[in-house]
Assembly symmetry: C2
Homo-oligomer: 492 residues x 2
Amino acid sequence: MAKEVTNKEENYSQWYNNLVVKADLAENSAVRGCMVIKPYGYAIWEKMHAQLDIMFKETGHQNAYFPLFIPKSFLSKEAEHVEGFAKECAVVTHHRLKVDPDGGGVVVDPDAKLEEELIVRPTSETIIWNTYKNWIKSYRDLPILINQWANVVRWEMRTRLFLRTAEFLWQEGHTAHATSQEAIQEAQRMVDVYAKFAREYMSMPVVVGHKSESERFAGALDTLCIEALMQDGKALQAGTSHFLGQNFAKAFGVQYANKEGKLDYVWATSWGVSTRLMGALIMAHSDNNGLVLPPKLAPIQVVMVPIFKTDEERAHILETMEALKKEMEAVGLSVKIDDRDNLRPGFKFAEWELKGVPVRLAIGARDLEKGVVELARRDTMTKEDVSWTGLAAYLKELMDVIQKNIYDKAFEFRQANTFKVDTWEEFKQKIEEGGFLLCHWDGTAETEAKIQEETKATIRCIPSDTFVCEEEGKCIYSGKPSHRRVIFARSY
Amino acid sequence: MAKEVTNKEENYSQWYNNLVVKADLAENSAVRGCMVIKPYGYAIWEKMHAQLDIMFKETGHQNAYFPLFIPKSFLSKEAEHVEGFAKECAVVTHHRLKVDPDGGGVVVDPDAKLEEELIVRPTSETIIWNTYKNWIKSYRDLPILINQWANVVRWEMRTRLFLRTAEFLWQEGHTAHATSQEAIQEAQRMVDVYAKFAREYMSMPVVVGHKSESERFAGALDTLCIEALMQDGKALQAGTSHFLGQNFAKAFGVQYANKEGKLDYVWATSWGVSTRLMGALIMAHSDNNGLVLPPKLAPIQVVMVPIFKTDEERAHILETMEALKKEMEAVGLSVKIDDRDNLRPGFKFAEWELKGVPVRLAIGARDLEKGVVELARRDTMTKEDVSWTGLAAYLKELMDVIQKNIYDKAFEFRQANTFKVDTWEEFKQKIEEGGFLLCHWDGTAETEAKIQEETKATIRCIPSDTFVCEEEGKCIYSGKPSHRRVIFARSY
């Protein structure tokens, strides 16, 4: 089964596409650019969703739900925002179909044209700030700390499963504050939540930093992000958190009375992560045998495969497995017994490797005599015999070991592929090999644009953690003075 | 605060609208027919969602996600289906806006017209069965037991918060089976899950039954439903489960090879409940003081209000409350201390009554001396003093008492408003007073239509539980022979 997946060294992009489909995560649908998220892929997303939701609530946020549609005129109210989204949005123009009088099935009913077109939300700042206008009168109504789990649509021309799709699932936080300082703190708090989630749950090292001005969200004064390095040396932006200043409050006339009764515009943030995280998770850890899932996000943590010749052996082994499964579930592990009778063990092994299940346990007739299981780790592809006694406790601890090992491996990869580069010649050579290039930059959008034009590399972020970048130097491109390094890379 | 809510005896419809808005559950948005679900309302929906999701998984279902958009041609493939939904759907015709060359802001870019229009899903049978076509080859691929949590759009002309909105949130199960019998069992299993959820979590008595042919889902061979009686005597359909036969399998060409290798079309069900349940919950239990929430769905189960004159008293009371809160949380209660310093206790009492919190605890200076709290129940509006000692355990048990009491009250209401009616004269009079009317009907669509025309009453269901309806009699309208009674009522 895993043999059908292209080797990643041969064609990384095709390896990724193969893997997503073969591991039953997602597939393309009949609608251009829209994906079907299959049960196994959705189960991983559910785990991400559940954990992020806990972390949002721990930081004081509540969920709410706002309309799917945005009146066209709302988009125009914030100038940069409309420029950022107008070119890729799905537009609803009619509200009825009718039977074609010429016999061509159903057609759009021209009498059902909307007075104002509706945009399927590409993001919800405008509809939400139009709502907040009615919720905010005084400082006592602030802060508003709201998150929404929703689907959004951006009509991308080139799409890839999870990484860039016309419709995707995400969460978008939208907060309102009395002061600039409080909003800035909130934007920082949430990017830190994303970093913690990426590191501790996805086992994925990330750099937290600020975007350069040209890479900011349309309408933001500052965009914070987490950036991860994929195994092909390309960077992936995994989450963003925006300080929006008073832009949306001014666009929608949202003012509050402070303690002295004076009116001022409200300060805003927004922040989001999406099903793109699924793409990041896959590309950060997987190999030519398939997915490698960190235990905290694995829908199945332990799979058990019986190996037998006779029906009697099968019955004994399954009985033992059921007993062991109960013990494992009692310590909080999620366990599956693969008792399908029409498939050989070898086929099952390959399938669960493809699906990235952290631990596989096999029991054959001889293991039954000895009271052991053959334990295979997906992350290291190593095997060992382990006694039934204390197995559950052993596995419980092993999950933490695996979770950390997957992180460490990705961390070492990033360390080995991060370079301080100080000359333009070296930059042009290194960028072809991939990785994070820590370079001096003169801080101008012109230089940034030229570097991108010549090498397809962009500034992934101006790091605020992970790397110490403050030092004097000279821009690799213009030679002008610079006070800190930034991360350049090619990216998804 | 609660005083702003219209009395339900005066104007039930306005009482409902008032309550939804004043209790901070939802409000109308700038987009016609689309609502904003506010944090307090969404928190109730989250609890419904979480519990239903557990029940779906217990019955073997997995979640997945399918596209928001449906190609126009898909809708037409099942004849009844398109007739049911074509008249009320949002149609996406373009994928880009551009700056108006005549200076009118942004306009739809005529060059970005889609080749085929996309419908925003009103329900997902068509896109899902088009997907299942690729998933199903043999009997080994069956059953497929999938559920989707999603938003859907039906362009209703007259909308009401939660009860009928252009966009709503729901879940839709879509299952595929090898035999007719298995699909019929699945449809029954899921309507029973809905009934259990309504009864045990919403404290809402429901009748399970079959819809008459004219009330069936567009494309179904049989529609099962749960029907509840609201306090104004109108019925509300709270969930449906459909046996779809082979209609969608035939429309999308989905066949499987059975054990003998013979091809046959696959059998289907679909089933759903939506944010309409919020409307049912509100209308089933609430009163002129506001919401009455069953403890299992209340975001806050216990609210504590301090009553003090001095800062010192306040500090002592809050300290006691924090300690009690910890004990309550340890037994699994969700507790809030309302320590807002700018509002009087009386105002807070009214606000939490409005929001339906099951139990309110007040502590004043004298209670502090005596070691008691004043406990007020929302369902009975009664008060008693209760000792701090053992308070958490007492409250834990009280939640079950309240949960049951709310059910019993609704049950008694329904009992008192269900009538066997045997003459047309009596029917015409009784239907004005509201309630479930158990009547004989001759089984024809003509009679059903005439009764509706003359009285606005419809057949809510042909009960399969709750009421014993099998008996010989004569149709109240036509006088023709009938073998069982059915439920007539006016409805939402």
